[in-house]
């Protein structure tokens, strides 16, 4: 066999091998990432979710039906921060006062969530 033919064959084989391997792994990684993103989206869209979170009451707006809480991490929704939440009923606001450390339930279809229960923990 002529040498340049052999070399061409080997190089082609290597290129095909590298290309195939890259395509295989690359595609697989891409597919896994897409599936993960889809699963995440499915988990948070259109489905009612419920979290139990701890926090501190920072302010109460009775006329708006809003309670401001400094809260811990809400997995899959938002990190720890100070933020106002709608309350499901006025009773929830009346049960606590500013400075109370509380455990509360957040329920609803994101982003339409509300505080449904609240209790003091201290």
């Amino acid at each position: 066999m002529r040498a340049w033919k052999a070399v061409l064959l080997i190089d082609l084989a290597l290129l095909v091998g590298v290309g195939w391997g890259y395509a295989f792994w690359g595609l697989r990684e891409g597919r896994l990432e897409r599936e993960l993103a889809e699963a995440r989206a499915a988990a948070t869209s259109g489905i009612e979710r419920r979290w139990v979170v701890e926090g501190v009451v920072r302010a109460i707006f009775p006329e708006l039906g809003v309670i401001v809480l400094t809260h811990g991490d809400i997995p899959g929704y938002m990190p720890a921060m100070t933020m106002g939440f709608r309350v499901a009923s006025p009773k929830i606001q009346e049960a606590v006062s500013v400075g109370d450390e509380v455990r509360f339930t957040l329920q609803g279809v994101v982003p339409n969530v509300a505080v449904t229960t609240i209790e003091k923990i201290k």
Binding site: R2, V7, V98
Partner: protein
Amino acid sequence: MPIRYTVPVYALGLAARWLHLASSVLLVGSAAMIVLAGRSDRATAQRWEQRVLASAWVWALVALASGVVVVGVQTALFEARAEAAFEPQALGRMLLETQAGHVWLVRAGLLAVLTAFLCLRVSVERRADWRAARGETVLLAVAALLPLAAAGHAAAVEPDTARAIASDGLHVLAAGIWVGGLLPLARLLTAASTEAGADARPYAVLAARRFSRAALAMLVLLVATGTGLAIIHVGSVAGLVGTSYGRLLLTKLALLVLALAFAALNRAVLLARLGGDGPTVGRPAMRRLSGFVLVEVVLALAILVIVAAMNVTPPARHEPPAWPFAFRLSLAALEGRAAEATRALIGSQIGVIGLVALIAALAMRAWRLPLGAVALAALGAGAGLALPPLMIDAYPTTYLRPSVPYQAGAIVAGAALYQASCAGCHGPRGAGDGPDGRGLPRTPADLRAPHTAQHTAGDLFWWISHGIPGSGMPGFGSRLSEDQRWELINYLRALSAGYAARTMGPAIERDRRWLVAPDFSFAVGPTPPRALKDYRGRTVLVVLYALPGARARMSQLAEREGTLAMLGVEVIAVPIDADPDAIRRLGPDPRVMFPVVTEGAETIVAAYRLFAVAPHVELLVDRQGYIRSIARGAGEAGDLEALAAQVRLLNEEKIAAETAPDEHVH
């Protein structure tokens, strides 16, 4: 049987790595040397080419076999069991699930292809065929060598991993072409210098010249990439002389200089004599050159031993350096000493003249001797003048990095240790006026003094650990743990920084960042703890307040929080009395939305009191984590517009990543 990095394991790993490196490099060099020398129709040259190809095949096999041993040792160390080296599952995990494993697999595959290719009987009668076949050998050998960079220290560099791997790859490649080409060259010269090999003599001369040119280019590449890699992996003089990695690098450089001396001799003297004929030119020169090239080969193989050892040694950057000298050189020594500064300046200028003379001596052949003498004299005189004023006492721990970061908790722990062990002599506030200090051979140091620029944290660590002979300062190495000593140093740094901070007022000084805000962690109620560091990139107003005095100011801040937020300011309120019920005490009106610390306040207040003592303190921390202004008051409502103006000034400043403070004192 558990396995650790014992001497036999280390020796086996080192030997296998060296064998692997040497054979991989020789493989690349052999292939490249054939291409460099070119095709020849002389019988001796063709015999040489066949012999080099045959040995390349052997090198490929040796590289494969030693690679298997390296992977085995690596697996045994990963799994911490000697038997793991022989277990298919363990080897599979190592090869398939780690990046180093993938690299080894790819390289083994390429080496196998190359071995098979070298066995292939192909005709190279025509020029195109010869080029294709020999070019393919180079291509496969280089492709098998390059990924080595992605399995070594360079792959662990953060950030700029890709750049580090690329530098390492180029470095290895240049080494391969230079070092690996020496042995085939020596064989060609030996063959051509015999009576029977006379037909290949012109070919050998041409090959030697071409190799010499290529080697020079590779050397430039080696020095450039090597310098880059040294900065990445070593990074400091202390790392170079104070760690095992740095010392290996120095050894490698010494061997390299020796090898380069031979290379320069070969290039300048012997290469020039190859062409002619006569008693001292031609054949004898060729024989001597082949001998000298062999010496270079031996030195290069010794360098590869060092390289193999460096591969299994953690890079200097990740090791605590032990400074080997009793002094160090620092410009800080000149602070406030005008006469010495002048002397150092004059000395440095004489040194520059010497440097210019040296360059001129290298460039101008005719004036080399006198210019060289001038250069040496000037460099010596310059160093003699400039260096002594720069000398500062140093200790083995001088460049040690604190194991405890600069945090409020460490400062408070250090303060307690200080009161227990140090206050007796150095005084309760560090002024050096303690009752036990009277009558000591030397007055205890005033620890608040700003002379600390001359002393590293490592110097303090040495004095606290071992004492200061003849001064009355005892060593605490046996009484305090290492972490306790670092806590104490963190306190001392905060103490002296706090003393300097007494001049800092409510107005910021543009672009002057010197007072690092010690990090602290805090929590609001049952929420997860946060740290001041998490606010990097935003301006923070740390407010140390006490009710009822600061009621008016707190109401004002709460009402105007929106305005502050728009300027990019986050408020963190810390009750001085550390009341866990602080949020309730602030009450519902006006609404306070910024974090009010209910856990961790005591530590924050204790540490930050070193910077300012007042019933109400507001510290403005800039986006990089430096305290830029301190407002002390009683808590009365103030001019928020003035605060906003300061923040606007901060927002106008340009910030560069490298000006962020170190997490540790130094």
